[in-house]
Structure formats: structure tokens, C-alpha cells
């Protein structure tokens, strides 16, 4: 089986729990959690990680989101990966313009997160085994 790798970059314990549990409903999905944007950047630079989806918490302490985005968008192997930036609308508006970035509100309910992930990961399949 080929797994879809979801790279989750956040230091928020609630997000670790919610994303992991919601994504566990997809049989072919695994979640890799990285606690800060610098480590995420190191990981991507190391070529040891080829995520299918990237989720970045914009409200993380010490986040250097534009550095990370610049790297991701400058490298062809990451350029088509859907990137979800979640946080407040104000934080999202501070991002340097880039293609293929999806905004998701940090103030989510768990059911909203599940629906969002279904639409993102399995657009043709409305009901995963969540």
C-alpha cells in the first residue's frame, strides 16, 4: 500500500491530537509531526521526507513561515504539494503571496476539521472511516 504522508508543523497539543485522530480515519494516510518551522525546513532540505500534504500552524511560537514557504515554493519536488496554512486570517494575510496555499481557520471545530480533510485528501470520496 502506498501511504500519503501528511507533514504537520505545529507545537499545539490539541492540533496534534485532532489532526492525528481525524487523519487516522484514512487508511492510507500517516502523519508526521514537527514542532517548529526551522526543524520542518531542515527535514525538507534533508531529502528524507516527501510529504503529500503540508499543514502549518501560523500561530506557532517563533515561526518563520515565509522562510519555509520560500524554500518549499523554490523547489520543484514540493511545488505541487497542497500546503495548508492554518491560523487567524490576520496571520494568513501576512504571508508573502504564493500559489497552492489553502487557508484553514485555527478556531475550528473537530467536525469542521474532518470535513475539511475529507475534501482535501479524498475529494471524490465523501465518507472516510472516521
Amino acid at each position: 500500500m502506498t501511504y500519503k504522508l501528511c507533514l504537520l508543523v505545529t507545537d499545539d497539543g490539541d492540533d496534534h491530537q485532532s489532526y492525528s485522530e481525524a487523519l487516522a480515519g484514512f487508511d492510507d494516510t500517516v502523519v508526521l509531526i514537527v514542532l517548529d518551522s526551522q526543524r520542518a525546513l531542515q527535514l525538507l532540505k534533508s531529502n528524507k521526507c516527501s510529504p503529500d500534504f503540508i499543514f502549518i500552524d501560523l500561530s506557532m511560537y517563533g515561526i518563520k513561515i515565509n522562510t519555509l514557504l520560500k524554500y518549499i515554493r523554490a523547489h520543484e519536488r514540493f511545488s505541487d504539494i497542497p500546503l495548508v496554512a492554518y491560523g487567524d486570517q490576520i496571520d494568513f494575510e501576512k504571508l508573502e503571496p504564493a500559489e497552492n496555499i489553502i487557508f484553514f481557520s485555527k478556531d475550528y471545530e473537530y467536525t469542521e476539521l474532518k470535513t475539511f480533510l475529507v475534501d482535501l485528501i479524498k475529494p471524490s470520496n465523501k465518507e472516510p472511516d472516521i
Partner: protein, 90 residues
């Protein structure tokens, strides 16, 4: 310091909190954790672990649960302590 918790009883406290959550849920008419977790918009597996005293949890998660029970933090802990005292007296 009187009443100060040392590391050895953290698991017991989590377990007590879990027990109180189960009692509150049942008093609200929810027979299983999943229905209640859905009502609070929390991940069901995570909520189940809270009830079992097996999960660390954030204040945000705890507040979501208390809001569903229409309780304040103070009410939750004061009532828990009362229950413990009553149990001890029996």
C-alpha cells in the same frame, strides 16, 4: 507545602478527573463517550483517554468539556473534592 501534589500522585489525579468526567457525562444522559465527544466537538479517542485518566490535556480541551456541562473550573474541582470527602467519610 500543605496539599501540594508531588509527582507520585499525578496519575491518580488524572484518574480522578477522568472518573468525574464519566459521572458528569452519564448524568447528562450520554451512555457512551463517543456521543459526548461529538457533542463537544472533540476527537472521540482522545476524549476516551481523558475519561480513563490516560491522556494529558490542554486547558482549551478541558474548557470545551466544562462548557458542555455548564460548569466553571471552580465548580468542577470543588464538587470533585466534596465527592472525595464524602467517599472518605463513608
Amino acid at each position: 507545602m500543605s496539599g501540594y501534589m508531588d509527582d507520585t500522585n499525578v496519575e491518580d489525579v488524572l484518574s480522578e478527573i477522568g472518573g468525574r468526567l464519566i459521572a458528569l457525562r452519564r448524568s447528562r444522559g450520554y451512555n457512551n463517550h463517543e456521543d459526548f465527544a461529538n457533542c463537544c466537538n472533540l476527537p472521540p479517542d482522545h476524549y476516551r483517554k481523558l475519561e480513563r485518566g490516560q491522556a494529558n490535556f490542554t486547558i482549551k480541551t478541558f474548557l470545551k468539556i466544562l462548557i458542555a456541562h455548564n460548569l466553571t473550573l471552580e465548580q468542577f474541582f470543588v464538587d470533585s473534592e466534596r465527592e472525595q470527602l464524602l467517599k472518605a467519610r463513608k
